[in-house]
């Protein structure tokens, strides 16, 4: 039981981290909390389902187009809804909250209330060292999730765009003085945040089918990961996801399955009591 709980905790933790990275990125660059983050995840799942099932596209092509589509939508949302609210965090918070409700209603209208699942990449399950069976689609999602996270960190560390993101996250005014167009950076940063949510959506929808309202708990878990890891800290966000996944699964295995998500909030309270800025957060000057 311990081996299964730990393995599953790490897999679910990667899932949480992947979902939360986009939130962390947008918070880091723009100081905007995107309440509609879960809905962008769901939209990518629906797109992936639609392109692969209805239009008969290759699943990989369907996934890539879905992520690209959500990225473009993210740019449009930033330009039309978020940009006019700069300077007042509360407005952007309310706007994205309303956007999440509007998107949920549109999904219900267009895709109906039933769960939709894009085609899986692999079938069956693998015997892990004779200890337990584990779904192959989950293992594939784990591999894809780790690859996306690694690519994201490589982009952040090795490219000019990554440097601009890091510079704006650390000191926005100084970044502007050094010639960074922060308005355009905001736009692409928000789009990239939505694309990360979309990447999580297309990777995970074959494991967990999407429904119109499934985005709410996803966004909630992502916010917990971000706060746990430290607002705006990317590596903290990944660590936060892993801690949550493992604690939830060990708690369910050895304490109670009925309160699985309660452990998530208990660990959050505990960390915030000891380290109010989160595991990797910077203390305010």
């Amino acid at each position: 039981m311990f081996a299964l709980a730990l393995t599953n905790g790490l897999v679910i933790g990667i899932v949480y981290a992947l979902t939360a990275l986009g939130v962390s990125l947008v918070v880091g660059i723009m100081n905007v909390i995107n309440f509609a983050h879960g809905e962008f995840y769901i939209l990518a799942g629906y797109f992936s389902y639609l392109f692969a099932h209805t239009l008969g596209m290759d699943p990989l092509a369907a996934m890539l187009i879905a992520v690209a589509g959500v990225f473009v939508l993210g740019l449009v949302v930033e330009y039309t809804l978020i940009r006019p609210t700069y300077g007042d965090d509360m407005y952007s918070l309310i706007l994205t909250f309303i956007l999440s409700i509007v998107l949920q209603s549109i999904y219900l209208l267009v895709f109906g209330p039933y769960p939709n699942k894009p085609p899986g990449w692999v079938k069956g399950a693998t015997d892990i060292f004779g200890l337990f069976f584990y779904g192959n689609q989950r293992l594939a999602a784990l591999g894809a999730g780790v690859a996306v996270i690694a690519l994201f960190f490589a982009m952040l560390k090795l490219t000019w765009f990554g440097r601009m993101i890091r510079a704006a996250s650390q000191d926005r005014e100084m970044a502007e003085l050094n010639g960074i167009d922060t308005t355009r950076l905001n736009m692409f940063g928000f789009g990239l945040g939505c694309a990360l949510a979309a990447a999580a959506g297309v990777i995970l929808a074959p494991v967990f089918p999407v429904t119109p309202t499934a985005g709410t708990p996803i966004a909630l878990t992502a916010f917990v990961c971000v706060v746990l890891g430290g607002m705006g800290s990317m590596s903290g966000c990944v660590l936060g996801g892993l801690v949550l996944g493992v604690v939830e699964n060990l708690g369910a295995a050895y304490v109670s399955t009925g309160y699985k998500h309660l452990f998530m909030f208990l660990i959050l309270i505990l960390v915030l009591l000891i380290r109010p800025a989160g595991l990797f957060g910077r203390r305010e000057a």
Binding site: L4, P113, P209, T211, T257
Partner: protein, 395 residues
């Protein structure tokens, strides 16, 4: 002068008649309300309700409506939340002036709504919320034309478990009024039948059940009684196959509709075969001539065969309401309750009659017959009751 007096007399007589007859002779359609989730996690039930309402209203109005007026149904969304359910119910009564309210599929919401029905003294016919306390509270204005937890467990599930000769069972319940209530009743029934069992509670919104399923697998049951509703059931069935719990153990979906949703096979794949579920409807077996007529009208209206049995449950409830209003001859709540208590109507699920003996959940309860069905090569096979069986359990 004389003709003027006659005209005044006629007007007064008409006013007097209208006052005596009350709302029964009011012009315009007779309104009844429906409560149910059109949004939220269980919006699929709202869709099934919409379909059933459309067919039932057409059926009633084609036969002359109610009290000589057309019947109109106002559907209020509860989103599956008790607070919204209670306020939605109140809106139907105070804003829309409905004579009666029907529906609901969440026990938590229904438990909030029955308090409003009792306070406002409006007849409420619950359709698909199964928790026993809904009728066990013995409220005068509350009826249930649908399954109750104790009815489903004692008349169907427990008897099926015994009849199939299962040796060890595992009960899995979501943490809701319905899930916890039906699990408790199942424990009592299995204890009485002498069948060893274990049980665990799972979170309603949980997507990942690997840890729960591994615990279940360690116990090595031959039947898993899963009281998990909605998409959660799809996750549960698919993941049970992945961890190797099935096909060695048989899963029974203790609610039914999620096993019949259009994307069931896409979501669970081959792991869905040999799964069992309870249902008041089978794809081919019809209990009454009205059920066959319902199927025919459904196909005509929606271009597909009915799957979610909740469309038929609300259909029956609308027919029961129309029948009660016609027999009462008025929209007066007290007389409607009296009429409902003497209901004796052939519906799609059999003859509807409400219990009138106070003291338990049987008061104001009509329990329609339920079936246990198994998917065998994607074809529904009735396993229980024996008199309706179309095949035997496959493992």
């Amino acid at each position: 002068m004389r003709s003027k007096a006659i005209a005044v007399g006629l007007v007064l007589a008409l006013f007097g008649l209208a006052a005596v007859a009350g709302p029964a002779l009011a012009a315009g359609p007779v309104k009844i309300g429906v409560v149910g989730p059109r949004t939220g996690d269980a919006a699929a039930t709202g869709k099934a309700f919409e379909e059933g309402i459309q067919l039932a209203t057409a059926w009633v109005n084609a036969k002359g409506g109610v009290l000589g007026q057309p019947l109109e149904v106002v559907f209020e969304d509860t989103a599956g939340a008790p607070d919204k359910a209670a306020s939605g119910f109140e809106r139907l009564v105070t804003r829309d002036k409905v004579a009666m309210v029907l529906g609901e599929s969440h026990s938590s919401s229904a438990l909030a709504e029955i308090e409003v029905a009792n306070r406002l003294k409006v007849p409420f016919v619950v359709v698909e919320a199964w928790a026993d306390p809904i009728t066990a509270k013995n409220y005068r204005y509350v009826f249930r034309a649908g399954p109750s937890n104790s009815g489903v467990v004692n008349e169907t599930i427990a008897q099926w478990v015994v009849a199939e000769g299962f040796k060890k069972a595992y009960i899995v319940a979501e943490n809701t009024d319905w899930g916890l209530g039906i699990a408790q009743l199942t424990e009592a029934a299995l204890k009485q039948a002498g069948i060893p069992f274990e049980q665990l509670v799972t979170e309603r919104k949980s997507q990942d059940h690997y840890t729960e399923l591994t615990k279940i697998k360690q116990y090595d049951p031959d039947v898993v009684l899963a009281y998990v509703y909605g998409t959660g059931l799809h996750y549960f069935v698919a993941q049970a196959g992945e961890v190797g719990l099935t096909p060695k153990a048989v899963i029974l979906d203790g609610a039914g509709p999620p096993s019949l949703w259009p994307d069931y096979w896409t979501n669970v794949g081959d792991y869905g075969d040999l799964e069992c579920f309870v249902s008041s409807m089978h794809e081919k077996v019809e209990l009454t001539p009205l059920a066959a007529e319902f199927r025919e009208n459904y196909v005509k209206a929606f271009g597909k065969a009915p799957t979610d049995y909740k469309s038929r449950s609300i259909y029956d409830a609308v027919l029961i309401a129309a029948d009660a209003i016609n027999r009462a001859g008025t929209l007066d709540a007290e007389k409607l309750v009296d009429a409902l208590e003497t209901t004796d109507l052939l519906t799609t699920r059999g003859r509807a009659k409400f219990g009138t003996e106070k003291g338990g959940p049987e008061y104001h309860q009509w329990m329609p017959p339920m079936l246990v069905i198994q998917w065998q090569d994607k074809v529904q096979t009735v396993l229980y009751p024996p008199e309706g069986a179309t095949g035997k359990l496959k493992r």
